[in-house]
């Protein structure tokens, strides 16, 4: 059996950025470089045009990204980043290049990352990311479930574990944690409760009954 696998060369990511911005009016994309040997760079896309951009990515004949493989959240709490910058300074009367540590404040935000592949053209991944404004009250992103059904459970999982609220998701409920759970366990500042018996079990009632029968075993 002769097997031929079509392997179309995809548009490089920096070109894809300009293609996107011209195809979807008003959309803004920012290329984020990845310095690891994997060299999987990604595109950050503004939230307003999320749906239009993803529809374009799925429909464009050069891309045909019909398969949304992996969707995941990332928590970036507010942090102070230290960066080494080379500055020209006068040291002991001589002008030199000196390394200086500059502190930069990074505001906290939550991020949703989508890994897209094309089953038709057999290329990928194209990685797109969306960021919320902060981690507390402005945590809404647009759901991409209307474009790729496969996002449905994964976006529910992000909502469950990170607390990103996806607008226009058909069924946004907790999926792995139970319905009455309050916090978002995958956030970096999540504190595990001491009381693991959180679930509403008949424990207290049972203990109360037991203490009525055996007053000397009264639970404080």
């Amino acid at each position: 059996m002769a097997e031929t696998i079509l392997r179309c060369e995809m548009i490089p990511l920096d070109q894809l950025k300009s293609v996107l911005e011209s195809a979807v009016p008003g959309a803004q994309a920012e290329m984020l470089r990845n310095d690891a040997p994997s060299a999987q760079h990604s595109l950050r896309i503004d939230n307003e045009h999320a749906l239009a951009v993803s529809k374009f990515l799925r429909a464009d004949p050069r891309l045909r990204l019909d398969y949304c493989s992996n969707v995941t959240g990332i928590d970036w709490p507010e942090a102070v980043l230290k960066e080494k910058v080379k500055v020209r300074a006068v040291v002991a009367g001589v002008e030199k290049e000196v390394e200086e540590v500059v502190e930069k404040r990074r505001p906290g935000y939550l991020e949703a990352v989508y890994h897209l592949y094309s089953m038709e053209l057999k290329h990928g991944p194209v990685i797109i990311r969306f960021r919320t404004t902060n981690r507390t009250d402005q945590v809404r992103l647009t759901s991409l479930t209307p474009v790729w059904r496969g996002c449905e459970f994964q976006e529910r999982e992000i909502y469950d574990l990170y607390g990103i609220v996806f607008d226009a998701h058909p069924d946004l409920r907790r999926i792995l944690m139970w319905d009455g759970f309050q916090d978002y366990p995958m956030r970096k500042d999540y504190v595990e409760p001491d009381d693991y018996e959180y679930e509403p079990t008949p424990h207290d009632k049972v203990l109360e009954k037991a203490s009525r029968h055996l007053p000397r075993h009264t639970i404080p």
């Binding site: 529809k55 059904r149 459970f153 944690m177």
Partner: protein, 402 residues
Amino acid sequence: MDAPVTRSTASLIPSPEGAGRPNYTLRQKTSDSGEIAGDLLEVSMGPQHPSTHGVFRMDVVLDGERVVKLKPVFGYLHRNHEKIAEDTTYLGSMPYTDRLDYFCSLTNNWAYALAVEKLAGLQAPERAEYIRVITAELTRLVNHTCLVGFLLQDMGASGTPLMYAFREREKVLDLFESLTGARMMCNYMRFGGCRCDLPPGWLEAARQVVDSYPRFLDEFERLLSENEILIARTQGVGVLPGDLAVNASISGPMLRASGVNYDIRKVDKYGIYDRFPFRVPLGEHGDTYDRYTVRVLEMRESVGILEQALRDIPPGPIMDPKSKIRGFRPKPGEAYGRIEGPKGELGFYLISDGGPNPYRYRVRPPSFINLTILEDMCLGHMVADVVVILGSVDIVLGEVDR
């Protein structure tokens, strides 16, 4: 150009409070003209149901015996695997990946090792790649054999097919035990290679198992493939069209049963899969019978890969000399590595911030995502078919719930 959606619009009834209530609720069904036309029954199937492959629950709304709505409910086994892995070192979560899909610990190991190798720029030597292919294909044999056994068990063929499957699985597990020291929780791969070399005589033993496998498959197929009951219960049941399967991110044998030619071993050619000629079995109708057939055919292709790998395996080192066990700190960056696991695309997404622990560790669990489409496949079928359809999805709750 929106996603095809076939979900029902019926809403679930809020369950009444209080313990000791029956696991079903009745509510009135109205016809189109607004008259009351009988009752709808809401049943909670699971979590302790023998057909749900673990602690998995389905909220099913039934009209007579037909499914009107189905919502999978899971998370009973959730232990936040990803958080635990972010709190430990890169190597520290290698044994924990065994516990994801506890049927296929070696492919889980490989997927994780592959992602870390992409992140840190390591390359496993040739012999290690061969060992990885051999163990992964043996795992695929075990997984598919047992899946067929469980599927038949769910259909009511209690005992025989499953015991046949377990008999063969035992031989492969013996191989795993002599290689890694454990039958199921193998913890065998390392970043840039494997933990230990093959013990003496292992290749010969593996060859014997592989050589006897086609005979077992013939026997299995003679027993099952043309069985009238199997055909009656599976053909035309749970049909999944190819375009919907792609849109819903379905992967693995389930996708190929719907006729989509996408095998990551062929597409990504990770490891040394470009050296092995093998065919990708495709289904025609996308029903449960095709999902069964695709798995059986895939096992035959795996046997072919194994025969070649066992013949060609070269001597040599099994670890990349650049790999470090202690003080392993990849440079900041991120990587997504994926392999064709027996259940579908198993991927790991890692972000490093330069520390000894991953900043972000994400598992792309195939059986979790394959469940997205369960409701669409079950609508309009009988309750008994739900059991069969779920069996053909091939889920393991350790991986679904993580």
